[in-house]
């Protein structure tokens, strides 16, 4: 009886739940591979993957760093370019009608198709990867920020105007803070896409990074290594996402989605 209850209380904690689900999936995966006798060159058992992870850890860690840097670089660029670009678009209908369609157009170009071009232009270094991560990451930032800046209450703007505040003051005190929840929504999508973008960049022209590891493993039918690299990539996405979530928590504790915890603190 108490076992059941303690299992329940463990499952009740927020941090444990995803881990629990992962464990269940891993066990199911392992069982499937054993029961259906799936050969390792199609799907490796999780034990193989774990073995590979431990065995190859120094190499994997070494190759994780370039991917991480490219992701962070692309993400930073997405934020630094995307947010001001969105401000520009939100500030004037004319600018919006010039820029937005081009942005959507460029977003629809498959990045994997143009990525080789970056190698031609920028060589084999980190730069083409950053650009690739940036190109994938910038669009959600722009869309979300434009939405956030435009959804502000009309009365709120009238109020600001009645206080005779200039455009800068209105922007800093009213527009930007009220757009922050939206901006963070965009940033969170952006960071996960930046990981994808960095790997895409590594696929086409690189001799380092997890994308490169993936490609080599793929060529050698080394599925355990491939799964291990994929696992690290996903963990990277998760950790970066959680860091952003934490930053959001610090910056906008007043948002409707967080009020319970916030009010509880004060």
């Amino acid at each position: 009886m108490w076992i059941l209850r303690s299992v329940k209380s463990i499952a009740g904690s927020d941090a444990i739940r995803p881990v629990l689900l992962m464990l269940i999936i891993l066990v199911a995966w392992d069982l499937c591979v054993r029961i259906f006798r799936i050969p390792p060159y199609l799907i490796p058992a999780p034990t193989y993957v774990v073995y590979e992870l431990v065995n190859q850890w120094p190499m994997l860690l070494r190759e994780t760093l370039p991917t991480l840097y490219a992701t962070l670089g692309g993400f930073a660029l997405s934020a630094l370019v995307g947010i001001p670009l969105a401000m520009l678009i939100a500030s004037s209908r004319t600018i919006e009608s010039y820029l937005y369609p081009i942005l959507v157009f460029s977003q629809s170009i498959p990045k994997i198709a143009v990525a080789p071009l970056f190698v031609v232009w920028f060589g084999f270094g980190i730069f083409p990867k950053v650009i690739s991560a940036f190109l994938l990451g910038v669009f959600p930032v722009v869309v979300a920020t434009v939405l956030g800046l435009k959804s502000i209450d009309k009365d709120m703007l009238d109020l600001a105007r009645s206080m005779r505040a200039g455009p800068l003051r209105t922007f800093l005190r009213v527009r930007l803070p009220s757009a922050l929840p939206s901006i963070f929504g965009g940033l969170k999508v952006s960071i996960t896409l930046a990981v994808v973008g960095a790997v895409v960049g590594e696929f086409v022209g690189s001799n380092s990074g997890l994308g490169y590891v993936l490609q080599v493993a793929n060529g050698n039918f080394d599925l355990p290594l491939m799964f291990a690299a994929l696992f690290i990539l996903s963990m990277m996405g998760v950790v970066l996402f959680m860091l952003l979530d934490f930053a959001e928590h610090l910056l906008i504790p007043w948002h409707a989605s967080r009020r319970d915890e916030f009010a509880g603190q004060t």
């Binding site: 009365d155 105007r161 009645s162 505040a165 003051r169 005190r173 007043w254 409707a256 004060t266």
Partner: protein, 265 residues
């Protein structure tokens, strides 16, 4: 129209031949027929009228938030072309910033105007007390009831000590009981601060209870249909709503709406 005032008046807000036509893609919407209205210094004027007759439009014109199509508005003798310093506005919704506490929301008025917050600490404290918000200054707006939020918005409109207070259905979202309490409190605040007040409302009892004069507007395009001088002793308490004179005023005003075939409340 009311009989011309004989006594010497100290006109604070002067509206002359004011019209407003909204231009949009689908055509132009005439919203105000020529309006003439004088409001005295320290007077409390309430405006009632059917929905869509242009009450909010009139308020925004007086606030300088909208350009007039023709006609003039003068406040304290100066033409209103854009928002002037001497005005405080309360909207139908409180429009408080959720990331600022009650106190900081009130201070927004000061900061946005580029004034020093330190000079207004005392004014904020006094207003919070008058509005019955003492002890809530460090709460966030979403921790407050609707009535308290609206009171905070009124404090914000008054903190820079404007001589004119404009209110657009400030209590429209409140239940009848809270609304009556807010009416009594607003009267007290007005009594204590002696502002010139222009209040837009859907509620005829609210208008009669609070105002020195009630302006009845006709349906769109709005114009002044009648003006009632409310000759009831001050300070009024809520029991005055049972007074035969009070009932008379509300009935007389309500007749305009029956005649127009429209009644919101």
């Amino acid at each position: 129209m009311s009989a011309p005032h004989v006594a010497v008046r100290n006109v604070h807000i002067e509206i002359r031949g004011l019209t407003k036509t909204y231009k949009s893609k689908t055509g132009s919407v005439p919203s105000l027929k020529p309006i003439d209205l004088d409001i005295d210094k320290g007077e409390f004027v309430a405006i009632v009228g059917p929905s869509g007759c242009g009450k909010s439009t009139l308020l925004k014109l007086v606030a300088g938030l909208l350009p007039a199509t023709s006609g003039t508005i003068r406040i304290g003798g100066a033409n209103v072309k854009e928002p002037i310093d001497d005005i405080g506005i309360v909207f139908q919704s409180p429009v408080l910033l959720p990331w600022r506490t009650v106190r900081d929301n009130i201070m927004l008025q000061i900061q946005m105007r580029g004034r020093r917050a330190a000079d207004y600490e005392e004014a904020v404290a006094r207003l919070l007390k008058t509005a019955g918000l003492e002890g809530f200054e460090h709460r966030f707006p979403w921790e407050l009831s609707g009535g308290m939020q609206q009171r905070a918005a009124i404090c914000r409109a008054l903190v820079h000590d404007p001589s004119v207070l404009l209110m657009d259905e400030p209590f429209g979202a409140l239940d009848a009981m809270t609304r009556e309490r807010m009416n009594a409190e607003l009267q007290r605040i007005w009594y204590a601060t002696k502002k010139t007040v222009l209040l837009i409302t859907h509620s005829i009892p609210e208008a009669v209870f609070l105002a020195d004069r009630v302006v009845v507007m006709s349906s769109r395009p709005g114009s002044v249909e009648a003006i009632y001088d409310i000759d009831l002793p001050r300070p009024r308490d809520l029991s005055i709503m049972g007074d035969p004179r009070f009932v008379r005023y509300t009935q007389d005003i309500r007749k305009h709406f029956f005649a127009q075939g429209e009644l919101d409340h």
